[in-house]
Symmetry: C2
Subunit: 583 residues, 2 copies
């Protein structure tokens, strides 16, 4: 052939070894493990043989004259041609020779003269590239094709090529309307011959979020999936532990980058909405001098022969800002919980989106802002992150997130919610009480009842019982059994707590005593003094869990997936305690 034909269909990807994923048969764990091990070893051997062959070919090729010898290998000189990014490719680029800096997603030699590869930029921007030797005028040699064929997937390349239009769209790449006819291929950073986790495995739904010690996990299973294929369904799923052990590959997955984009857009939408509403950003500290909100679940640490704590929330500092003469403030930053819970719902560090505001007439003004900002976030990511949501759904399918059609968020009182659960929920919740906090199971059950009845995945329970709220929550002046405090729910899971705070020092001290908290204890004394020191207007606010909003909105199986580097009791990734401190 005289040119790599645009009409030629891309060859099939290497088929991954069939691994039984999805089969229903009664295969035993031990058997599976042995199979997995055998397959892993076979695969390793196969790869090693391939590598040896490629290297031998390279050596042999080096012995004949190579007219293209400056066009490949370790980079000699940075190409002069115009650089492109795949996102910006357009019709004007066709026929142009350009530079692309990208990761090698896979490479498929077809013959000694022809190979196909997929090059990936950030996210899932990928393009098909073709190297064809012996084409008249083409600066590609057989040696060059051989050499490229030996480059390991997930290496970083700088390539030069001409943009062409394939006659049939390249369905395996996001850039389906263009392809790149390579003229130069330089290796900038080599990946190892065998990856700890392939991109395809990394981009599949995670099989197991257990944070157990490696010994307890079927480690081998996901190492099988060496084929850099687009056919994700044929690739066995990896465990969260394997992902964390292969953090670079974990983060390279398009699904991980899509979630990251969405997460950052949520922050941006939170910030821009509030700024437009007159809120000022501030920075609460992480290091605090007293376990202000109660001693449970607080990280303590030595602090110059004294003791410090990590903030569980910016609550006190938000209120100091209001006391300090701001009418509306917000903050975005890390908060910490020393909960020894090893579940997909728990982390020890997460990001809080917090706001606090002066109340003019009624504390429901706080609801208006919180609902406003969340609705803004939901519509914003739907619009700005449509592609990313699509990418996430292709891995973690989810139903559309239901919002009230009239834009009015469903507001129930806690008592109304309990009544609904008793009357229309599962039998086990027949006896839920109005004066006790809800369990996670009850919250989820109520979420289902509300979705069924009101067609919404987003609603609020107002007037939480007094017993369920901390000492700074303001009691309802007309009914001290309940507080002017609420929780917001997404798909039946709490994502936001808030309400009105007590702004009068005498009222605050009285409620502290009622709640069994000593207003003269360290930290609380100074807190009360702030309200004694100046006139602090009525105020309220709320704290949104960013990880939760992202995870619940996208219906991810774990909040760990919403986080860049999830912190859990057993692991501060990429360092596992088993490695650092373990036996």
């Amino acid at each position: 052939m005289s040119e790599p034909s645009a009409t030629q269909a891309p060859p099939p990807a290497d088929k991954p070894v069939a691994d039984g994923a999805g089969e229903e048969g009664p295969s035993k764990k031990a058997l599976k493990k042995a199979e997995a091990k055998a397959k892993k070893e076979a695969e390793k051997a196969k790869r090693a043989a391939e590598r040896a062959a490629a290297q031998a070919s390279q050596a042999a090729a080096a012995q004949t004259e190579d007219l293209a010898k400056d066009n490949y290998g370790p980079e000699k000189q940075y190409p002069e041609e115009r650089e492109i990014t795949l996102k910006e490719l357009n019709e004007d680029d066709v026929g142009k020779t350009v530079v692309l800096r990208a990761w090698l997603q896979n490479v498929r030699p077809q013959s000694a003269k022809l190979l196909f590869m997929e090059l990936r930029e950030e996210g899932n921007w990928s393009i098909q590239a073709i190297a064809a030797a012996n084409v008249e005028g083409a600066p590609v040699s057989r040696q060059m094709v051989k050499w490229i064929g030996g480059v390991n997937p997930e290496s970083f390349l700088v390539v030069v090529g001409t943009i062409a239009k394939p006659i049939e769209p390249v369905t395996s790449c996001k850039v389906s309307n263009y392809e790149l006819h390579l003229t130069k291929v330089y290796l900038r950073a080599a990946a190892p011959p065998v990856l700890g986790m392939t991109l395809a495995a990394s981009n599949r739904a995670i099989a197991n979020f257990s944070d157990e010690a490696p010994a307890a996990v079927e480690e081998g299973v996901d190492k099988l999936s060496l084929a850099p294929s687009g056919e994700a369904t044929a690739i066995p799923a990896a465990t969260m532990l394997t992902h964390l052990d292969n953090i670079a590959m974990h983060r390279r997955a398009p699904v991980a980058q899509a979630i990251a984009d969405i997460r950052m857009e949520v922050k941006e939408l939170f910030r821009s909405y509030l700024k437009a509403k007159g809120f000022k950003e501030f920075e609460p500290p992480c290091l605090i001098g007293a376990a202000s909100e109660g001693g449970a679940n607080v990280f303590r640490m030595p602090y110059f022969e004294k003791e410090a704590f990590l903030a569980q929330s910016p609550q006190f500092y938000k209120q100091y800002e209001i006391a300090g003469g701001r009418k509306r403030v917000f903050s975005i930053g890390p908060v910490f919980r020393a909960e020894n819970s090893n579940t997909p719902r728990h982390m020890t560090e997460f990001t809080g989106l917090d706001l606090e505001m002066e109340i003019r007439k009624d504390y429901h003004e706080v609801f208006d802002v919180l609902e406003g900002v969340l609705l803004h976030i939901f519509s914003g990511i739907k619009e700005r992150c449509a592609e990313q949501i699509e990418t996430v759904r292709s891995v973690y399918p989810s139903e559309d997130f239901l919002l009230p059609e009239d834009g009015k968020v469903l507001r129930l009182t806690f008592a109304e919610g309990q009544k609904l659960l008793r009357e229309e929920g599962p039998a086990e919740f027949k006896d839920v009480r109005d004066d006790e906090d809800m369990s996670t199971a009850a919250e989820k059950a109520l979420g289902r009842v509300v979705r069924e009845k009101y067609h919404t995945d987003f609603y609020v329970l107002d007037k939480f019982p007094e017993s369920a709220r901390p000492f700074y929550a303001k009691e309802d002046p007309t009914n001290p059994e309940v507080t002017n405090a609420m929780d917001y729910f997404l798909r039946g899971q709490e994502c936001l707590s808030g309400g009105q705070r007590i702004n009068e020092p005498e009222e605050l001290k009285a409620r502290m005593i009622k709640k069994g908290v000593d207003p003269n204890s360290g930290g609380l004394k100074e807190y009360v003094e702030v309200f004694q020191s100046v006139g602090v207007p009525p105020h309220g606010g709320g704290g949104i869990g960013l990880d939760r909003v992202v995870a619940f909105y996208l219906n991810l199986p774990s909040v760990h997936l919403a986080s860049f580097y999830p912190r859990t009791p057993k692991r501060l990734l990429p360092v596992s305690f088993f490695a650092v401190l373990g036996t």
Copy 2:
């Protein structure tokens, strides 16, 4: 008079007690202390007498019929009139009756029928308001005037009044072209009769940043300044400790709010510039599993029977993002240093503005971005925060920040900088060496030499000596005595460290060993493994200290002033260890 005349000049503010501030005479410390104490007591007695008189008047007034009795006191019903903010006041508002929610900055009764007050919104937005009784048709009674006269400064009010134009501008208020003729005054939150620190004192330059125990500080001095006068020069300065003990008043000062606005604008400018340049935001963790960058100055803490550390920088995680398939990333978040230094230059928690990027051809691409973002920040705050900078300068005077006229940032090598210091700096720096890091004193001296010679307060030293840079810094391939690493300086003080990082695992391990660091130790092993696990392109970046940029740009006497809630070894404000844990 038939109406509070707009032509009447505002009465003078209560004169503060003369306190000798600014005098040069040889007054002894003990004498001053005694004087201060006496004055303080006298002032207290005076206030108490005034309060008693006001209360007696209130009681007396209550006995006569009060036609305005619904127009003042604790709020009865929220006013129906349109609400305004002072920032938005304009000519169309003249003659209109409006609602204002504001802090009482001061109140000056003129007679039984007339008083003036200053009402303040956020920042330094303030307006003069007038209550005049016995004016025909005016809903203000003598009783009301008396009652208002008894309200304590820094209480929060909801007032109703008519916007009028004074014939002479009200120079003591930011809103000088309008005044408010009061018809209703409601108290929403009362301040105490004596403030721990007045607004005027709070808005003065801080006298002493020493972080010593309260006993060592002349606490009394600044309690004198009770007069809520605009004449700041007559008000004695408070110490930083007094500010931190009166955190609400500290934060109410216009200067504090102006610095906060500037700080947040710096963050916003950093973010928006980098996003426009294709950078993606990410979130590095605070909790880390190993003291990755060396054991000194790291906070350690128990972590579920194991140990965790607080991140000193997001360095490793920025690099994981590049390894994880991002080309350009940035982060904004807290970093921690366990340095037991009690100076105005040190804190234990501050905010890092960090970026990391793939390098295409040359590591000076990183310089281009860092200089671009800092120049964008400098011009941005000059433009967007002109008023705030003015406010800060009125308290902390500073020379204009000099920038190169052609927009090209001065780039010197470290060796060139040392030569300059040896040849043109003070005699004590005659022997500075090219292969050793600089002292803070040397940095400042060089800053002065550079300002004199090149007329710039912003420059970079490139090619730091190998000995002065951590193991991840890339050595100059042409001269391994130095690194591809730089520091940027503002007014002779380092605000940013950065450079190229090693991206090849073998090179990384070799340099670790050269630097005496064990590549197999906990945390570092996992770090090296990331570079072994995939192909990581060449990359570099830098970390900007937000607190430093704000403090140095504004020439503040301490970085503590740039922070919302400064953390120091002796204090985690508002909790002092003396109060919580001290003996």
